[in-house]
C-alpha cells in the first residue's frame, strides 16, 4: 500500500486516513460495548476507551505497513 495517498491533489500520509478509519471503527465498537453493558464491569471506562482507540489504530497501522 502506498505511504502517501493523494486527497484533493494533496499528499496525505496513509496513516492519517487509517487513524480516521480507526476512530470510526472504535466508535462503532464503543457503541457495541456500551450496549452489552461491559463498561459497567471495567475498572476505568475512560482509560479503557482511550486504550481501545490506540489498539485499533495501532493494529490497522501495523497491518498496512508491515
Amino acid at each position: 500500500m502506498p505511504r502517501d495517498i493523494a486527497v484533493f491533489d494533496a499528499y496525505v500520509p496513509t496513516i492519517v486516513l487509517l487513524f480516521v478509519a480507526g476512530a470510526a471503527l472504535t466508535w462503532v465498537l464503543d457503541r457495541v460495548i456500551a450496549y452489552t453493558g461491559v463498561y459497567r464491569v471495567v475498572w476505568h471506562p475512560s482509560l479503557f476507551r482511550a486504550s481501545l482507540l490506540v489498539c485499533v489504530c495501532g493494529v490497522l497501522g501495523l497491518a498496512v505497513y508491515r
Binding site: 464491569v41 475498572w43 476505568h44 482509560l47 501495523l62
Partner: protein, 368 residues
C-alpha cells in the same frame, strides 16, 4: 463483587498495556526504522569505454558480478575489424608482389648492359625497390609485431645481401613469434648464407616441424650437401624430386650429390634430364661432362663441354676434362693443347691432375 472488580481492573489493564505496546511498535516502525521517504540510494558508478567502437554483440557479465582485471565485460562486433585485418593483409600481399616485381626489374636491369638500359631507369628500379622497403618499415612502425611485415623486410635485406642486419631483425621478430615458419626459414637462409654452423640444427628442427615445406627441405638438403652429408641430403633431394620431377635446380643439385657419392651413372641420368629440360643450364652441362668422363664416354663429355662453353667461361677443371676426353679419343694434338691450357690456368691448385697432365704431355709430345 470483589471478583467482578478484579476482572474489570485486569481487563482494563490488559487493554491499556496492549495499547501501549502497539503504539510503541507502530511508533518505532513508522518513525525510527528507515523507509523510502528518508532513504537516499547511491551506487559507485564507473564509466567503461571500449578502445574501439562498434556494436556490442555479447555481454557476459551479470548485474553486481565481481569482475577482475582482464575479465571480458562485453564483446564488440568483430566483423569490421576482421575485414580490416584481411584488407591490411591483402595490402601486405600486394606490396610484397609489387616488391617482387620491382626487385626482378631491378635485377634484370642491373644485369643488362648499361648501353641497353639507361642509367636513369636502372636507378629508378633501384629506388622503387627502396620504396617498397620503406613501405614495409612503415607497416612495421604501426604494427611492430607483424610477423609478415618483418618477414617482408627481412626478405628485402636478404636480397640485398645485408645479412647481419637481416639476422638481427629476424631474431627480434622471432622472439615475439617463435613458431613462425617463414621467419624460421629466413633465419636459416641468413645463417646458411653466412656459413653459420647454427643453420644446420635450425633447419633440421624446422624440417621436423614442417616436413611438407619444400623450401625448408631444399635448404636443409643444400646445407647438408655443403656439410658433406651427401647421403643424408640425397634422401631429401629424392623426396623433393618425387614431388617435382621437372625442377632443374633440384636435378642439378641431386646430380652433384650423386657425383659426391660416386654414383656416376645416376648422376649422368639426372644431368641429362636437366639439360633436356633447359639446354642453357651451364651447371647441368658441367655435371654431365664430369659424370660422362668418369664413365669413359669421351664423346658425351665433349658434347657437354661444347654446350657448356656457350653459357659459361672455361675453368681449369673443364680444360682438364677436354684434355682427358681428347686423350681417350686419341686426338693427341687437341689433348696436348688442352693439357697446356689446364696447366697454364690451374696454378698449382690441383696437384694430382697437374701431375697427370704433365705425365700425359711427356708421352704425347714424345710420340709426336
Amino acid at each position: 463483587m470483589t471478583i467482578r472488580n478484579l476482572v474489570g481492573f485486569v481487563a482494563t489493564a490488559i487493554v491499556f498495556i496492549v495499547a501501549i505496546l502497539l503504539g510503541r511498535v507502530l511508533w518505532v516502525h513508522y518513525m525510527d526504522e528507515p523507509w523510502t521517504r528518508d532513504g537516499r540510494v547511491r551506487a559507485e558508478i564507473v564509466n567503461v569505454a571500449p578502445d574501439v567502437s562498434g556494436a556490442v554483440v555479447e555481454l557476459p557479465v551479470k548485474d553486481n558480478q565481481l569482475v577482475r582485471k582482464g575479465d571480458l565485460l562485453m564483446q564488440i562486433d568483430p566483423s569490421h575489424y576482421e575485414i580490416a585485418v584481411e584488407q591490411a593483409q591483402a595490402a601486405v600481399a600486394a606490396r610484397k608482389a609489387e616488391l617482387q616485381m620491382k626487385r626482378d626489374d631491378a635485377r634484370r636491369r642491373a644485369d643488362m648492359d648499361s648501353l641497353v638500359v639507361s642509367k636513369e631507369s636502372q636507378e629508378n628500379a633501384a629506388h622503387t625497390a627502396s620504396a617498397a622497403e620503406a613501405a614495409y618499415r612503415r607497416l612495421l612502425a604501426t604494427d611492430p609485431k607483424s610477423a609478415q611485415a618483418n618477414a617482408g623486410l627481412a626478405h628485402v635485406l636478404i636480397v640485398r645481401k645485408q645479412f647481419p642486419e637481416a639476422e638481427k631483425l629476424i631474431r627480434t621478430a622471432l622472439a615475439q613469434s617463435p613458431d613462425d615458419p617463414v621467419l624460421g626459414a629466413q633465419l636459416a637462409t641468413v645463417l646458411a648464407a653466412q656459413d653459420n654452423a647454427e643453420a644446420l640444427p635450425l633447419l633440421q628442427k624446422l624440417h621436423a616441424a614442417h616436413p611438407q615445406d619444400a623450401a625448408i627441405t631444399r635448404m636443409l638438403a643444400d646445407v647438408l650437401a655443403d656439410a658433406g652429408d651427401a647421403a643424408g641430403s640425397d634422401k631429401l633431394y629424392v623426396a623433393l624430386l618425387a614431388a617435382d620431377p621437372d625442377d632443374i635446380a633440384l636435378l642439378v643439385a641431386h646430380g652433384q650429390n650423386l657425383i659426391r657419392q660416386l654414383k656416376y651413372v645416376e648422376a649422368a641420368a639426372a644431368f641429362e634430364k636437366a639439360t633436356k629440360l633447359d639446354s642453357a643450364n651451364g651447371d647441368a652441362w658441367s655435371g654431365l661432362a664430369f659424370a660422362a668422363s668418369k664413365l669413359h664416354q669421351p664423346s658425351v663429355t665433349i658434347h657437354a663441354l661444347t654446350m657448356r662453353s656457350k653459357y659459361m667461361p672455361e675453368v681449369p677443371a673443364t680444360y682438364f676434362l677436354w684434355a682427358t676426353s681428347y686423350d681417350t679419343l686419341n686426338d693427341k694434338v687437341a689433348a696436348a693443347t688442352y693439357y697446356h691450357h689446364f696447366l697454364d690456368s690451374s696454378g698449382g691448385k690441383f696437384p694430382d691432375q697437374e701431375w697427370q697432365a704433365r705425365q700425359r704431355l711427356l708421352i704425347l709430345e714424345k710420340n709426336k
